[in-house]
């Protein structure tokens, strides 16, 4: 059966420092005062993501009564600009802020959903979003080697660090991470360098809690990102996350990869889970 797209769906360009960004706004018949921005993952297709999972998510959230906007990163899809790579330390803050600002006239409160690199960019943009009420971070990408290396160093103390230093199998991952950090900035000229560490993540979470912004971390059981997150949860972030409930919640699906959405089942799971979170949080 063929179903027409929502009648109030419209395409638009949003001004940003990187150039006009292509976006689609879905507006329900009687919109609430909450606007939702969906930040796509870091890939080179369009904001739709694999099998347009983001489109279906936007329409599902709009069915809850909220205005939703999805957009293409600069240099991607129908947006202007150039892009080289998606780098975690260079989140696209300006893109997120520009699109969020475009909703400010229609919505008093803002909820931002970010998938993988989109979550990273949403978190980095949070200080510049005064009406932010909630973040939903799907498959949030912690740099794996970095989190493991930091955690090991704290757990092991100086003697342990000395042992690691003499064992290439243990220090190579950290060296790879450090090498990446030393590379020149590959992204656009306006991409900002914002380091992501367990410490910075915790500080960001603390700042959001002070503002009353809720955070939902969502992972699929098969996400690569889940490995890094579990390393942190068993280490430096564990107690903090537990104490921060219900302001910060963690949801992990039984199966499926929510960062690349490589199965229809994972896509449906993500849409249902995120829609439920929006329903609960707003």
């Amino acid at each position: 059966m063929v179903t027409a797209a929502p009648p109030a769906e419209r395409a638009t360009f949003v001004d940003s420092p990187e150039g006009p960004l292509a976006a689609v706004v879905t507006t329900p018949p009687n919109p609430s005062d909450t606007g939702v921005v969906i930040c796509p993952g870091g890939w080179y297709g369009t904001s739709t993501n694999r099998n347009r999972v983001v489109v279906r998510l936007a329409r599902a959230i709009a069915n809850l009564g909220h205005t939703v906007v999805r957009f293409d990163w600069h240099g991607v899809g129908d947006s202007s600009g150039e892009i080289d790579r998606f780098v975690l330390d260079r989140p696209f803050v300006d893109d997120v802020v520009a699109v969020s600002d475009s909703l400010s006239g229609a919505a008093g409160r803002l909820l931002v959903v970010g998938v993988c690199f989109g979550g990273r960019s949403a978190l980095a943009a949070a200080p510049e979003l005064p009406s932010l009420a909630g973040l939903v971070l799907v498959s949030f990408p912690f740099p794996a080697e970095q989190t493991k290396a930091d955690w090991r160093a704290r757990k092991m103390g100086w003697r342990g660090v000395a042992n690691v230093a003499t064992n290439p199998e243990l220090w190579r991952p950290a060296a790879r991470w450090a090498t990446r950090r030393l590379r020149p900035a590959p992204a656009g000229p306006k991409a900002r360098h914002i380091t992501l560490t367990p410490g910075s993540f915790r500080a960001d979470m603390g700042a959001l809690r002070q503002r009353g912004v809720t955070v939902d971390l969502v992972f699929g059981a098969d996400d690569l990102e889940l490995v890094s997150f579990e390393t942190l949860r068993q280490g430096p972030l564990g107690d903090y996350l537990e104490r921060s409930r219900p302001g910060i919640e963690v949801a992990i699906t039984d199966r499926g990869d929510l960062s690349s959405f490589r199965s229809l089942e994972a896509q449906d799971t993500a849409i249902h889970l995120i829609t439920d979170i929006v329903r609960r949080r707003v």
């Binding site: 360009f13 006009p20 689609v24 489109v55 129908d78």
Partner: protein, 304 residues
């Protein structure tokens, strides 16, 4: 939101002989040289089609419709189509890109060769109605080559990027991607691909059985195209076109069609690339040579 410019960004409501559809122009931006882009939805009987129209500063000398490949192949080619459309506008040719029903930003619905052909006709109707009766070129990539060949009006110029010429081989490639993806995720590789399934999950894309049946039963060689001028761009690392493409070109030439076959170096494993490292989609976004070749062909030897 970005303010519209140029003064003609108001919604257009157009009648079509194909049925009741209209183009809703939602927003428009203008580049420094005066070329512009408009994005919006075309309302059709099947649902809303997302479209992007790229236009020159002055009245265009012709129009081009760019038909995207469906499913996993669409995102791989997207930015090339974007670049081609922008370059055509700078060369005085207006063009339209669109998302077929069931794909991208468009309305829900099954995506088959039949539905894509209907969508392409609607898109071309909107484009021609907007700019007038101008010479037409149609570009189609991979599976959309069949769509483009069906859609091209008499006298139009056809451009086919890496066309699917062997439907059975395409279907096998799709199912092989399905099996490899399933194996990578710990499944047997046989799940979800039975003959009774209406839709098969292939690396997260719903492949309609009807689509595969259509592809197998309607090879490009049997599509009666009204075009008498065709460019085929092969994307391969081998340096030479596939024998099946050369055979097809020869067949078209015997029918009196002027055919040019170009080759660009590109690592194109269209479906397997979508199940790349860590499950992430590794998209080759550059491959500018295909854009350059087609741009040169259309601007210098196009129907205008």
């Amino acid at each position: 939101m970005t303010g519209t410019s140029g003064g003609d960004a108001r919604p257009l409501h157009l009648d079509s002989a194909e049925g009741a559809w209209k183009t809703v122009v939602d927003d428009r931006i203008e580049g420094p040289g005066g070329a512009w882009v408009r994005i919006g939805f075309i309302e059709t009987a099947s649902g809303n089609l997302f479209s992007a129209v790229h236009g020159p500063p002055a009245q265009p000398r012709g129009v081009a419709l760019i038909c995207p490949p469906p499913l996993a192949e669409g995102p791989r080619n997207y930015r090339r189509e974007f670049d081609l459309a922008g370059a055509l506008a700078e060369g005085g040719v207006a063009s339209m890109r669109f998302h077929p029903i069931g794909t991208g930003q468009s309305a829900d619905g099954p995506c088959t060769l039949g539905s894509m052909s209907t969508d392409a006709s609607s898109a071309l109707g909107a484009l021609v109605s907007q700019f007038g009766d101008l010479p037409v070129a149609v570009v189609g990539t991979r599976l959309a080559a069949v769509v483009a060949a069906r859609t091209i009006p008499t006298g139009g110029t056809l451009v086919l990027w890496d066309p699917v010429v062997d439907g059975s081989a395409y279907a096998k490639e799709v199912m092989r991607a399905r099996r490899l993806s399933a194996l990578a995720s710990g499944e047997s590789g046989k799940e979800g691909g039975t003959a009774d399934d209406v839709t098969v999950d292939v690396v997260g894309y719903p492949v309609e059985k009807a689509l595969l049946d259509e592809v197998r039963s309607q090879p490009l060689a049997e599509v009666e195209t009204a075009s008498r001028r065709i460019q085929v761009v092969e994307m391969t690392r081998k340096g030479t076109p596939r024998p099946a493409v050369l055979d097809l070109a020869e067949q078209w030439r015997r029918d009196g069609t002027d055919v040019r076959v170009d080759v660009v170096a590109a690592a194109e494993s269209w479906w397997f690339g979508s199940a790349g490292k860590g499950g992430r989609i590794e998209v080759e976004v550059t491959a500018t040579e295909a854009v350059t070749l087609t741009l040169g062909f259309l601007l210098e030897e196009g129907p205008w």
